[in-house]
Amino acid sequence: MLPADLREKLERTIETADHPRELAVDVMMALQEHYGHLSDEAVAEAAQLLDMSEVEIDELATFYTFIYREPVGRYVIHVCDSLICWMDGYEKLRDHLARKLNIAMGGTTDDGLFTLLPVCCVGYCDRSPAMLVNRRVHGNLTPEKVDAILDGLRESARSADETSSG
């Protein structure tokens, strides 16, 4: 269930809007942030908050690239496969990531840390090949750079877990 403080915060924001449904994407993003993905429960909550039907929410949720209707890892890696990144080694980059994480495109690692997905042109054609990690861009990628990024993410997940449990 949605924590009371998050629910109140969203309700306050929705109150200030002329039309609640104009905040549909923002509300879905906030719920996704909380649950990790937009679960069925989150769809129902978004519908209730925005005074929309669940099917209307789902219609939007399944349309947008960055709303996840299925569970995803803590770090969602979107690898750009559009023209310039593809010319500059997308396939090698994808294979390297798949090997390192031991998952295929669309998969999530067993430890729940990483999900690997393709994405359309992210607007970093001057720094190809590029990928996004939780919507943060990394460009001019090489296998070494990818390894360092993955190590850094594992490290920050570890230290975040230690802080929260300690």
């Binding site: 609640p20 104009e22 925005l50 939007l60 947008y64 310039i84 359309c120 970093y124 054609c125 720094r127």
Partner: protein, 432 residues
């Protein structure tokens, strides 16, 4: 193909305050003349004469469609209802295009002033910047700088004591290419599935929430303060061609040594951009073709290597300037495979609303995949042509844009397709 003459210096207008690693501050923007147009025009004279100036400058929309910005402003009727909206389209998702990202990171107040001025001309009171979620850093910059502009009195209630009020919200999209299409973007902002709508009514008559709405691209809006400050003649004089006006941000990527975004005059030769600014072709290879304005334009072959990069000159060779995102190919690149990749993009990003687009792109993609991978048959060329013809009946501009590279592949590189079919595979792959 290196040019013998030294690199020319062209005036920097939109990127005058560009720094390599940081955005320009409000102070820097002001000391370069920023917000002077706003101070001088707000409440000072009739809005009609300002709109005339924009129209006389022949400012063509920089988002890809090249619709005259002055004409668009004039389509908001004097007696149109209120409130009216101004949307800044920062949903830059055309493959190869990254100029708006560069522009926002360089000088965000230029965009804010451009929006305030455009809103004043349209008597709009609410501004929305619609930005793609991949540009989170740009969205944060804009939110912060909008706050700074508000504190300085350039946004909000009674701007600079003129009696005019206007404010800006930043809206992050959930991410889909079709949201860059104006009518789809308006649906997205209303929390609806972002399918395009077919005008009329046009958004300037009935747009967001059924009210008059002007939608302009980031770069278009950034041109506005400069035009109002320096005049229409000055803007026209920036271009190298008679029919052109202004500078343009050219985003160059692909097989060049220094990919990047360069502000250069409208009408500059393509060869000059590639050789003098993008560092020439990579690895000593030869220019084979480029897509001159994003994925929704056709291949521009080597015989047009020196073409003036202008709306009219590209039109005269059956192509388009589009977003001026120049994607460069060399002689080792297979254009069948490149087109297949583009079709993967269009097949994935089709909103699915109408049949020609939803069914057509996967079909085109699969045919090209088979040709590329040795399963091509001669009759597939006719099938490709027929599909392209049928797909021109789609509901919005997505499909005609997406078939542009396919049609140009068929028109200009048919022998390359035939070589794939006859050789049962990609001739470029065998060679490398």
């Amino acid at each position: 193909m290196m040019s013998a003459t030294p690199k020319k210096e062209y005036p920097q207008v939109l990127l005058a305050n560009r720094h390599p690693d940081r955005i320009a501050t409000l102070e820097e923007y002001r000391s370069s003349g920023g917000y002077r147009a706003l101070a001088d025009t707000l409440g000072a004279g009739p809005q009609d004469s300002l709109k005339e100036t924009i129209a006389a400058a022949v400012l063509l929309g920089r988002g890809g469609a090249a619709f005259p910005a002055g004409v668009k402003l004039k389509t908001v009727a004097d007696d149109a209802p209120f409130p009216r909206f101004l949307i800044c389209n920062a949903d830059e998702m055309e493959p190869g295009t990254f100029k708006d990202r560069v522009l926002i990171h360089a000088d965000p107040h230029q965009l804010i002033e451009g929006m305030a001025l455009t809103a004043y001309m349209a008597s709009a009171e609410k501004g929305i910047i619609f930005i793609r979620p991949e540009y989170e850093s740009a969205a944060r910059i804009l939110e912060r700088e909008v706050g700074i502009a508000r504190e300085a009195g350039y946004l909000g209630e009674n701007i600079l004591d003129s009696g005019f009020s206007f404010d800006i919200d930043v809206h992050r999209s959930g991410g889909r290419y079709i949201c860059g299409e104006v009518t789809a973007q308006i649906n997205a902002l209303m929390g609806k599935r972002p399918n395009p709508a077919q005008p009329p009514p046009y958004p300037t008559e009935k747009g967001l929430w059924g009210l008059p709405t002007v939608v302009n691209n980031v770069e278009t809006l950034c041109c506005v303060p400069h035009i109002l400050r320096n005049g229409a003649d000055w803007f026209q004089s920036l271009a190298l061609t008679e029919s052109g006006a202004g500078t343009k941000l050219y985003g160059v990527s692909g097989r060049v040594n220094r990919p990047g975004c360069f502000e250069l005059p409208i009408g500059i030769p393509l060869s000059e951009i590639i050789e003098d600014y993008a560092g020439g072709m990579r690895d000593g290879r030869r220019f084979k073709a480029c897509l001159p304005g994003g994925a929704s334009t056709g291949f521009l072959p080597v015989e047009h290597y020196h073409i003036a990069m202008d709306f009219d000159s590209l039109k005269s060779v059956g192509n388009r300037l589009g977003t001026a995102a120049i994607m460069v190919f060399d002689e080792t690149d297979c254009l069948v495979a490149a087109t297949w990749n583009l079709l993967e993009f269009f097949a994935r990003e089709s909103c699915g609303w109408c049949t020609p687009c939803r069914e057509g792109f996967p079909y085109l993609r699969d045919l090209l995949w088979r040709i590329e991978n040795g399963q091509g048959e001669p009759e597939m060329i006719g099938a490709l042509r027929e599909l392209c013809r049928d797909m021109s009946y789609a509901y919005c501009a997505f499909s005609p844009g997406g078939i542009a590279p396919v049609e140009s592949l068929l028109d200009l590189y048919e022998e390359e397709i035939v070589a794939h079919i006859e050789g049962k595979g990609c001739p470029f792959r065998k060679r490398s």
